[in-house]
Symmetry: C2
Subunit: 421 residues, 2 copies
Amino acid sequence: MTSPGDYSLDLARRAKVAARTLAPTLGQTKNRWLHLAADALIQRTPEILSANTGDVTAATQANLTAANIDRLRLTSDRIRAAANGLREIAGLPDPVGRVLNSNVRPNGLHVNKVSVPLGVIFFIYESRPNVTIDAAGLCVKSGNAIILRGGREALASNIALHAILQDALREAKLPVDVVQLVNSTDREIVGQLLKLDRYIDLAIPRGGESLIRRVADEATMPVLKHYMGNCHVYVDQSADLTMAEAIVINGKCQRPGVCNATESLLVHTDIAGKFLPRVTAALTAKGVELRGCPATAGFAPGVTIKPASEADFAAEFLDLILSIRVVQNIDEAIEHIAQYGSGHTESIVTRNLDAARKFTTEVDSAAVLVNASTRFNDGFEFGLGAEIGISTDKFHARGPCGLQELCSYKYVVYGDGQVKG
Amino acid sequence: MTSPGDYSLDLARRAKVAARTLAPTLGQTKNRWLHLAADALIQRTPEILSANTGDVTAATQANLTAANIDRLRLTSDRIRAAANGLREIAGLPDPVGRVLNSNVRPNGLHVNKVSVPLGVIFFIYESRPNVTIDAAGLCVKSGNAIILRGGREALASNIALHAILQDALREAKLPVDVVQLVNSTDREIVGQLLKLDRYIDLAIPRGGESLIRRVADEATMPVLKHYMGNCHVYVDQSADLTMAEAIVINGKCQRPGVCNATESLLVHTDIAGKFLPRVTAALTAKGVELRGCPATAGFAPGVTIKPASEADFAAEFLDLILSIRVVQNIDEAIEHIAQYGSGHTESIVTRNLDAARKFTTEVDSAAVLVNASTRFNDGFEFGLGAEIGISTDKFHARGPCGLQELCSYKYVVYGDGQVKG
């Protein structure tokens, strides 16, 4: 029986060796693997579903919520979608080896800033086996070795998927250690891996805030964090109210359980008397529970609006609940967002250029939108392709993290004998 | 008497408030401050020199090394140079608000990736008071508030400089808390500040490896690390040997005490018989102590070459000492660098295109040079302008860190009512 320490060290060392081979690998070889893996996932669907059925049965017996079981469950359609996701990643440009910036110095040195893989990524994520496929695809395409540690409820499914991904690596003549799986639910292994900054270049935790905090506390390597999204829509006094209503309804109702859903509505007092009655009625009709400041209730008589607490303004509901506040001016809206927001996504609805410029300049969030739904903050919508998460950090990567955000760079400098004077 | 915890919290909170005001400040206002500060440094030179004399006297009594005292000492010339440094920073383009990437989506959303300041930077550095001026200049120009914590030997000098920098902030009508100084040598304050990731966005430690490791261990915010530079020159079999000799001599001897000095020489066996006698003789004439593998000594009879240990190959000598190894081929050179190198700077001397491409692709260092001295890896030489340090990390910033590396970005998205389908 290997100890958690030895197991982790072996995994991390093998990942580092594999990463060195993968880094200079041609794009066509990485793309071949993506297509081989996609084909194999389709062909070996029965084997995947059989493993997944075991996970789902155990989760049902363990009384997991219906939502969690839904996230755990694979179907032929979901496997096909994940396989197509790999093919889409194959179609994206290679993020490695691009000259990001170039500079000829007065002494003739050609200085090129060239994108390179980060190296080894330790990815800790929810019990969602389709994420195993997406994450492996993104990491290999960006030239990184990945160590996967999925939620324990998905272990059998992940073992089946991992075997298929590794078989495709063999077929593509890539090192199998490019994609490794923590083949155990022992939490001690996670702790051990987080200490191995000598071999692991980045940890990406996904899931609840407590998991992310634990990883950030324990990790000796950099951590790409994705904390919560408490996203705001501010409806300015000059807003087109029909547009504003559509943006609020879409942000709140289109998919309330995700991080870029709208959680809080701020309304300029000058249009609150016109806007709040219609938007609160429309939201109520959609089944949204409203929690407002005292002024909100005053502007929308006849609509059920519960009093909002401080905690409501700070909350990420991930549900059909919306906090509402009437503000005296745009400065108060920006101040409210600075105080209660999570720096994820905020939107202003306005026809006033000064207001748009002020809001986009002064609101310090990963994405600041003008006249659009908060739901657009994701990698596909921003044109980055697939994403491994949405960073709420300001360091290295902010907002959606796609292939480019999984890369670092180095300076490659060509001279013809220059020495320093 | 304020406790270290209260003192740190007050400093950090005030920095955060000041950073919010500074972030959208116009470039011309920041540049005005840089010029006002430069003028004031010149005008108030006697006051600075008086404080510095106190520091130098105390350091002499405390038996600091001559090198350390030299780094601590300010002169009129050095103050003038630092003031000119601020004026040069004023002349650089504003790093904030640049559109780094732009993308029009099929639905009409205009997605712009825009550079923004990181926020609050906690800078921990050596007893070099001129660095106080450089660091404040770089941080303010990049829209960041800075908390300065210099070495304790320089405290009186830093207090004098800080007063001048803050007076210039008042004159430029910028918040004085944009530049704050830890006005105490209590180490507990450093520990407390490193816990305040709610207010501080980045810690940058400069100095010895043990300080950097301590900061990296204790910090709850990201840390930009600058570990050692064990820099290699590999002389390929096709190298122009006159060029190779000049590059080795320059890398080792031009300024041996800095991180981009050459510490190790790798020589292809096919040209070792021609190259080693001349380069070792030239190095010996320059007073360089040589520590070589057994083959090195064999190729250079009559030259004093001590046997190199494993520790010598891993060492950053920062002195007139060079380790030398004969390698069978370029792969062995790349492998040696992977094993012993620090990922800082490596150079290949070659006339062979395949060798140059292989070396630049497979060597994983912040800077990889072809036919040029390792001494060129710095911000000025690469065209970034002034730098706050050279990162040996791969995350966020790698290599020289100038104004752009002190920035993050956000997505600013303009629509006309888009909602997600």
